[in-house]
């Protein structure tokens, strides 16, 4: 009996210690008040409200897909940073570095974790969209946040697409060749797009293979060294950075638009 009391008080002693209380002010979350404080007092958890309607915690309603999308984004950021320690974005080294990642680097599944998480993220984001559509959660006042979500989905796919080039194998270069050649056909600013040949001074075409939007995207006339570096930077820094801004807006607006949708 005495032993049991001792154990209980160990956690309590910990919860009442100065160190614990300096980190989590409300102590061990036991009472209703403490539990609400555990959410409100945490910079990460206070993305959530302290209390929710009952249906909002049911997996059958939310499918957990929004949360999983965010989890996968964090997961991809971490594995991505780890991969950057070993990967050099040059035509000379890229491919061999990828092989080394599987064969020489300890825990040789880091690239697998990154790649499969990326594929999953595309799927999970789609399913999140399906759930939001099927519950009609885009309806006022959540119209704007649905739009932000669509942009996030587009960015997710673009992120995945730019990452596809980095192993510098046949799969990568041809998928990106085909993809980036679509930019060639952009009206007016792609050199094979409608209207591009109208932008000319006399005989000199302003929009040609060395000056159009595709050239700016891949940094050359065809997918090569410059493209690899550009896609690497876009993939590792530019798009994740933009996504984080949109994610902040997305999460903020969930709360500001009245929290999770539900029947009235």
């Amino acid at each position: 009996m005495a032993k049991k009391e001792n154990k209980k008080s160990l956690l309590d002693t910990l919860g009442e210690s100065q160190v614990w209380k300096s980190i989590i002010r409300s102590g061990i979350p036991r009472t209703r008040r403490q539990r609400m404080h555990a959410i409100l007092g945490s910079v990460f958890l206070h993305l959530h409200p302290a209390r929710l309607p009952k249906h909002a915690v049911k997996v059958g309603y939310t499918w957990c897909m929004g949360g999983l999308s965010f989890f996968l984004f964090v997961n991809l950021t971490i594995t991505g940073i780890l991969l950057m320690f070993y990967y050099r974005p040059t035509v000379e080294y890229a491919y061999t570095d990828i092989i080394d990642l599987a064969e020489q680097v300890p825990l040789g599944i880091m690239r697998e974790l990154h790649r499969w998480a990326a594929h999953s993220m595309v799927l999970v984001v789609w399913l999140h969209m399906l759930r939001v559509f099927m519950t009609g959660s885009y309806k006022p006042p959540r119209e704007f946040n649905w739009g932000v979500g669509v942009l996030l989905m587009t960015l997710t796919m673009f992120l995945s697409f730019t990452g596809y080039l980095l192993p510098w194998d046949q799969l990568a270069i041809w998928a990106v060749t085909v993809g980036s050649n679509m930019a060639r056909a952009h009206p007016f600013i792609g050199h094979e797009g409608p209207g591009a040949s109208l932008l000319a001074i006399g005989d000199i075409n302003l929009v040609h293979i060395g000056s159009d939007v595709r050239f700016a995207l891949i940094g050359g006339r065809f997918v090569g060294e410059a493209t690899l570096l550009r896609f690497y930077v876009i993939h590792c820094i530019a798009v994740p950075f933009i996504m984080m801004i949109f994610m902040a807006v997305h999460f903020w607006r969930i709360r500001k638009d009245g929290g999770i949708s539900g029947p009235l």
């Binding site: 599944i109 056909a185 952009h186």
Partner: protein
Amino acid sequence: MLDAFKNSVDYLSNPTISFSLLTVLTPLLFPPTDWFDKINRKLRLHLLWTKTGCAISMAVITFFFAVGFLDENFSVILTKADNFPIILMFYSIFFCTWLAMHKAYINDERLEKGLKPSEYNDPDDKVLVWPDLVYIEFIALILFTVFLVVWSILVAAPLEEPANPASTPNPSKAPWYFLGLQEMLVYYDPWIAGILLPIFCVVGLMAIPYMDINKKGDGYYSFKERRVGIFIFMYGWIVLWLFLIVLGTFFRGPNWNFYGPFEYWDAHKVVALNNINLSEYFWVKLLGTGLPDNILLREFVGFIVVGIYLFITPVLLAKTVLKDMVKSYGLVRFGALMTFGLVMLSLPIKMYFRWIFDLKYFVAIPEYFFNI
């Protein structure tokens, strides 16, 4: 027996047939009007959204993949590491659509009886996020991590030969989630399939909340109250996006020719693809004269066809069938809905013109890269 199954799948998966089947099936599964609903009930298709329906469909999908894995031709495609997400996609999208529709049907019945939707709880009866939600998130996170780790250990990430700009693999495929786009490129020029349609797709999705003025069905699964909206979404999502992905992954082989999933990828399969422009149909075949030199004269039929489709159709619809809709929607909203709707429909329309008439372009001005 198994061969008969394989042959019939190969036959049915031909884009002309499978796409038509899905196009007919979608309004029956998600009936937008009473008429479709009646047929749905008559054919007992609504039973798909029951638990038995789910079990049977899952079994059918599993059977299909099991046969696929044992088949020497299909297993080559299925066991490609990058195609595993597609198998996941089959299961997860079917299950999630089923779940949503299952719950929607339950709610529809409740609403008919005058009850609140099953998601409804007393607004004052709230639960605490700690621990109720945080724990669920924690468990979901752990389960998904385990899933990812197991997947990563079992399946190595694909790595092909080093990049070689001089030789294109045959067939050369984009990542699976872009294969819908790649499939569109067969029917439209890059500036439409690669730029215009994706932009319309993204902007159209963003515009959904502004075009759907139906206030019902907010915050719970329902079908009857929003059946037209759900039908349109499902047609775009399942037929024009997901199906095209499946088509691109499973049914496109060397030279981007069509191959049934159980068919051997014979790179020398000869398929005649002699496509003809509308201007050639009009001037050469109909009038028997040559193509005029003047570009605008040459292509005027195409311009008229496209013009009628994009500008006259909405006006006609607004004056006749959709008269009431214009009133409730207002002109701007109606115009937007028509624009997005017609652009979305232009894809299947072009596909059918290609399949039936071998039509290459409605308007063909390669001189200015302006082909529609």
